[in-house]
Subunit: 300 residues, 2 copies
């Protein structure tokens, strides 16, 4: 069973009252109707041996990543974090110092965004470390940018560079693109956005499916990270763990954005949203081939 | 390291802006300032082999318990649940059917309280099942009842019976006392409340510490469950996993409550809050001895 298949089964089970849950599961965060603007909420876990390696990266890196993954989902909605909660299953025999390091890792990146840890639960067992973080966030004047709002003809843009993050410190030390997302959504008419954790192709696929559209991507326009290694473009398209933003907006807005480059990180246009449902990669010779999600996915 | 000690270290690290987080970690749920009434949030996990046994109790029971533990925290604040989020670490090789059962167990008890599952994350690993649930709740006209509000002279009351829950189906099949808590807090002036998960003595200790008070408990007044077995009173005081409510209120309100018994479950007065910080157990011969928390606690 693949994660996506199971998650889609779960969605099919849900019955949501839109007056209470305007945006249900399936986006980076859900939206519940609390207060004048609504509240955003989501959850993500970090498992030793799956998302990081305790013995290699250390407990602080695990705590930091668990919090940062969730903050990256806040960025994907162009929201601002409010507070976080965490559960931790500690391997028996882990020292008090290491347990504190997990907490301090969460705080290290949470504090950057004034996101306090307001609740938690800790258990101990004879098995590896699991850290689960739930994030609460607020729109604060910017409507949440969903995956489902892309329009045919939209430019597809990304922040930063892609590929090799898992083999570099980046997947542990990234700073979620919250500030960048607020600038983008505040100054440009973003139609759809997602953070790239599963892989550029796979996450673009999520936007396509949610928006009922296809996409064409220009291979030469994909910003490949130096960390991508010899695999180059393939690594950039499929590795995942980049925690960059992928978003769509009108051609006109995209041109202004690309000209002005208002962020501290470069923005690149990698392609165009198209009618239909196919994702196509266009190489430098103009040849078209199917772009299939081959990114990193939790296998179940 | 004991859980309490570590949790207290975490509290000591936190800096909370009371305009944003009026009630930080340390109560059953935290309160964040969203909307006119505030939002409550908390998180609790269920680990295979610690809180339930997958091979014996089945996946649905694990999902149900993970959700029900959190709903019991909502009851302890006299709030109403709004929505929940969950992460699950699935043991590799678990069938799709079993994974669905976990989800359906969460839904089974969530649906009773109109508490939809609005977000989640699933990972797979070669280790046991861990389920982490975060709950969001609202006051809905009743101010959250904290652990810290008990007053000297308050009657200490409880719902239901205590002891042996871990050896009975109760710890898996309990219905969180949300309806009862709403009646109690809506009709009586509750000063403090907690749900009894760690054990009657230990959870009373949490109320004493948070309120800066002591307590005396009349041994003969403690309602001992038939499931408590030969250990009797000791099991009732220390076993935990009862998921009943413990609360304090004025002598006058308590008398009215005990006379009218407005709940479907019996309410008993077990003792009185006292100045100082000692917890004392008074036996049937009038002898006083220290009441020490000996309840179930996650060891770390």
């Amino acid at each position: 069973m693949r994660e996506l298949e199971f998650i889609e089964w779960i969605y099919s089970q849900g019955r949501f009252d839109p007056a209470v849950v305007p945006v249900g599961p399936g986006d980076d965060l859900a939206v519940v109707q609390v207060g004048p603007e609504g509240l955003l909420a989501g959850t993500d876990q970090v498992l030793d041996g799956v998302h990081f390696i305790l013995g290699e990266h250390g407990p602080r890196a695990g705590g930091r990543k668990a919090m940062a993954r969730n903050l990256s989902d806040v960025a994907a909605m162009a929201a601002l974090p409010l507070a976080a909660l965490a559960t931790v299953s500690l391997p028996k025999g882990l020292s008090r110092h290491d347990a504190q390091e997990i907490y301090l890792g969460m705080r290290e990146i949470g504090d950057v965004f004034d996101c306090p840890l307001i609740g938690g639960d800790m258990g101990s067992w004879a098995h590896p470390l699991a850290i689960s973080v739930t994030i609460l966030a607020r729109p604060r004047g910017i409507s949440p940018v969903l995956r489902s709002g892309a329009k045919p003809g939209d430019a597809i843009c990304v922040t930063g560079h892609f590929g090799g993050a898992w083999r570099s410190p980046r997947h542990l030390l990234f700073t979620p693109r919250i500030a960048e997302a607020r600038v983008l959504a505040g100054q440009f008419g973003l139609h759809a956005m997602i953070d790239v954790s599963d892989g550029l192709a796979r996450d673009l696929g999520h936007v396509c499916r949610a928006s009922g559209l296809g996409a064409q991507v220009n291979a030469a326009a994909v910003p490949v990270s130096a960390a991508a290694g010899p695999a180059g473009l393939a690594a950039a398209l499929h590795d995942g763990e980049d925690y960059e933003l992928l978003f769509t907006l009108s051609e006109e807005d995209a041109n202004t954005l690309l000209d002005t480059q208002p962020l501290g990180v470069s923005v690149s246009r990698i392609g165009t949203m198209t009618p239909g449902e196919d994702m196509v990669l266009i190489d430098s010779a103009g040849r078209r081939k199917p772009l299939r999600p081959g990114g990193w996915e939790h296998q179940t």
